[in-house]
Subunit: 238 residues, 2 copies
Amino acid sequence: MQNKYLQIYKEIADQIQGGGFEAGSKLPSEHDLVEQFQTSRETIRKALNQLAQNGFIQKVQGKGSIVLDARKFDFPVSGLVSFTELAGMLGGNAVTEVKKLELIHPDKSLQGALQASPESEVWEVHRIREIDGERIIFDKDFFKKMYVEQLTEDICRGSIYEYIEKELGMAISFARKEITVEAPTEEDRGYLDLEGYDTVVVVKNFVYFDDASLFQYTESRHRPDKFKFVDFARRTKA
Amino acid sequence: MQNKYLQIYKEIADQIQGGGFEAGSKLPSEHDLVEQFQTSRETIRKALNQLAQNGFIQKVQGKGSIVLDARKFDFPVSGLVSFTELAGMLGGNAVTEVKKLELIHPDKSLQGALQASPESEVWEVHRIREIDGERIIFDKDFFKKMYVEQLTEDICRGSIYEYIEKELGMAISFARKEITVEAPTEEDRGYLDLEGYDTVVVVKNFVYFDDASLFQYTESRHRPDKFKFVDFARRTKA
DNA sequence: GAGTGGTCTAGACCACCAG
DNA sequence: TGGTGGTCTAGACCACTCC
């Protein structure tokens, strides 16, 4: 165990999710929590700030911390509903098919997106995501080879993300997403079961490491009817 | 003037945006900043955490704070590219047309979305957003009347948001967004210049006040080719 | 080992909300 | 007026990076 404020965060978060605190009621005051957890007030405040950022409570000056209804928001609190979550929601079976797995030299536009030189090597991965036999999502990933030496079809069938964090021990720090709607390319038509839809939802993802270096560029191309994105934006104070 | 850490945040943010710090270089250490601003380290750290959250810097333990290239990201850092920003980007003229402005009693689905009783009164506002004569966005807004007594066409032609924060002095605290793609309704076809597109991008917005009460529900329905959403997600530590 | 950011403390004063 | 959260301080120790 470590990180006292994270322990406190987890304990309170569990209590809220488990119904230990009623939605709409108030948390004990920071002063009370200091006594309860035998710690300093700033540490309690760090835990409460995490709770507020993650949608568990809402802090109101002069009044207290109001417990929000965490269950009202079908998870995740924020972010793209991922392929496996989507499959779970729809109750279907999820299959990933790797269509391409090659080392390439980046072209002009990719050099810009990845901040890579023309001579550098880049993994290009194409994956099709199927649910109940329907090809719903076409994922195009580009990784700098200097960060990921080996990439196999097996790894690609799972979550490349997870592989990198767990196996390679590199911390993915933040990501910038852009969502637009475009006309399908020939590639899209070949890969996806578009069923008459003449648009695809394109999610462009720029993923960075902890040291601020750009690591991955991904395009996720979705059939429009199966797409859902959820964002829980919050004005945070420090 | 107040809030020392916000002043420090602004000063450093301005320097980064003005090119005073090279992208990729490092900020002075927290220790140095303590001396420079004659304050305590925790205050400096609050300012730096804000900078990190807003995409100006990236903190790396044991190394320092790396300056990111703020200009690389066309603004805003995060969030829906709003109507007026969109108009600015496209260089066109923006016009808002108010199609409906009425007090209604919420139906079943709206009662759920707004957490309102059937007897309560709710403002319903329909607005069409035009750029260069093309009707691009159809905004459907619902406000609880208990929060906003008066609403005029004039107010609706501008930003209702801004009106509430500035005039009514209520602090809007956080919002939950859901983005999906749907087939256009008859209403959409009547209001928007869809030009053959057979989808609309639907952004559902749930807006809350500081005291965690739900205040507004909005549906923003976009012609797909003019839609863009940007999200700058970040793993934050406290 | 020197320097960096990450956590934690114990106390202070302020701004805001309620009765 | 008493209780709440918001800011700020000065110091301590730890974990990590780099030489």
